[in-house]
Symmetry: C3
Subunit: 211 residues, 3 copies
């Protein structure tokens, strides 16, 4: 599946760049850049492989992914000043990573189980877990908490890919449509601030609340 493999490398590299940027913002040293690049780049795919039972996980079967993360971490370390002026570019690259990874994750889940529901979940997980880990480890507010559409874009892309694949569309076409859909949803949210309506708002947890 060369198309899925390409999406995998693209997702890893782009997410690794966002992880290294988080390290940059936290004033870490060069190993910190590489560490965050690796955790963000391979975190989502690692969780996907673990729950599917596809172990050893992908970057142990093929350490080239680790090398990609390491190189991205080094590049960001040495050229972060340049990248800073390209902040918007990076935001959009993150949208590309999300789009690539939700299709990639759904594809692996569908191939492993044949279940469209599982494909949706692994697609969403793979696309979002790297960024969640990055924010958790860096001690920043999680991307999950943003009002702006994020998880939803991953879900949209995974849904389109899975539905098309399930009904027999060729892999390349289904992948392209899924990636495009996720990117349009996330891109629209970035450009126009799209949000979904929230439910009945509730006050934040009080210190003496239990749950």
């Amino acid at each position: 599946m060369p198309i899925l493999e390409f999406l995998d490398y693209a997702g890893v590299a782009v997410f690794a760049a966002t992880g290294a940027l988080a390290a940059s913002r936290k004033h870490l040293d060069i190993i910190g850049y590489v560490f965050f690049a690796a955790v963000t780049g391979i975190g989502g795919g690692t969780l996907r492989d673990l729950v599917l039972g596809a172990t050893p996980v992908f970057w142990i079967r093929n350490p080239l992914y680790i090398v990609v993360c390491g190189c991205v971490g080094l590049i960001v370390f040495f050229f972060a000043r340049r990248l800073e002026s390209r902040y918007r570019l990076l935001v959009w690259l993150d949208a590309v990573g999300l789009s690539a990874y939700c299709v990639m994750g759904a594809g692996k889940g569908l191939a492993a189980t044949g279940s469209p529901i599982v494909a949706l979940v692994t697609g969403m997980l793979t696309a979002t877990f790297g960024g969640i880990l990055r924010d958790l480890l860096a001690g920043e507010p999680s991307v999950l908490m943003r009002p702006e559409i994020y998880v939803t874009a991953a879900m949209a892309g995974a849904t389109v890919f899975t539905a098309l694949s399930y009904f027999g569309a060729p892999l390349l076409a289904a992948s392209a449509c899924g990636v495009l859909c996720a990117f349009c949803v996330r891109g629209g949210a970035l450009k126009y601030g799209w949000t979904l309506p929230t439910g009945d708002p509730r006050p934040p947890r009080k210190p003496d609340d239990v749950l």
Copy 2:
């Protein structure tokens, strides 16, 4: 093992409700509700299956668990206002979830390994990890940090179930006693504020401390 299966669905549904409620408090959108419902509902069982090597994990072998989480997330999204006035009910349902899951986790651990020590640990993990994940991802103080008894209730239920099973009690009786014990301990902590004595208190970590 129909009794353990029932406990599993009960635990998933109740924890999913607490996750969706956390999403509600954070003013998330509908996908956020479903996401938190799923993470909280299946998080503990996922970790249990991973460490036991029972992969693919349970919700991939049986996606009905995902459907349950999704439905619970939707229900809470549309009826959160009603649920808010039932806050105490929900607190008590969380105690039910904890009670169901500590026995469920211990049962799976015991069946997989025969070791009572492993059963205790998988029981405690399964019952608490979903709530820990929920709090971590929502950026709220972890339930682990509450002075009130929480982990201890899970341990008590897992201990009773494991001891009875180990000495040959029928599954149904051991499960009922374990669930009841965990629920009484957690319920007592909720109703009467039970705590265990803390150790020698120490000052919080200073910024220049290393550990």
Copy 3:
């Protein structure tokens, strides 16, 4: 591999002590001490076994590790007041744990895959993930964020061990050199405040930033 096994128990016990100390600082009860001792002590090795596909993980195959964590938690609970006056000792024991675990993790990764890159990653992961989990769950700033060298020491030890092993050095010699190297780097950082230069500093993430 008795040397690797010894390093494993040493790493588990020492990290468990740091976890119990974190519980002590958070004024938790006795179960909280045991919980944090277990999570910190076995967290790194658990992730290592999961990604390598070596499931059930080590403490399920051999519950003695759990017993060690439990005993360490109890000891710290009852003798925390004494330990407090031995704070520097504990900091240095943590350095011992890091040193033991980076070699242990690299050894397992190398044995399982033959790939030096994988060995480096599993060495670093095993040595650092327990402490990361401890800080995440306790709600404290992650050890990753400290300016002082930490991950780098684990990487140095794993690199030395892996390189020596890869080029045919006996296991005992490679292990000793790796442990010594990691300990010297971490010890130097503790004693002299060694740091690596940071990259171009960037301002912290603004609330309206996306990544």
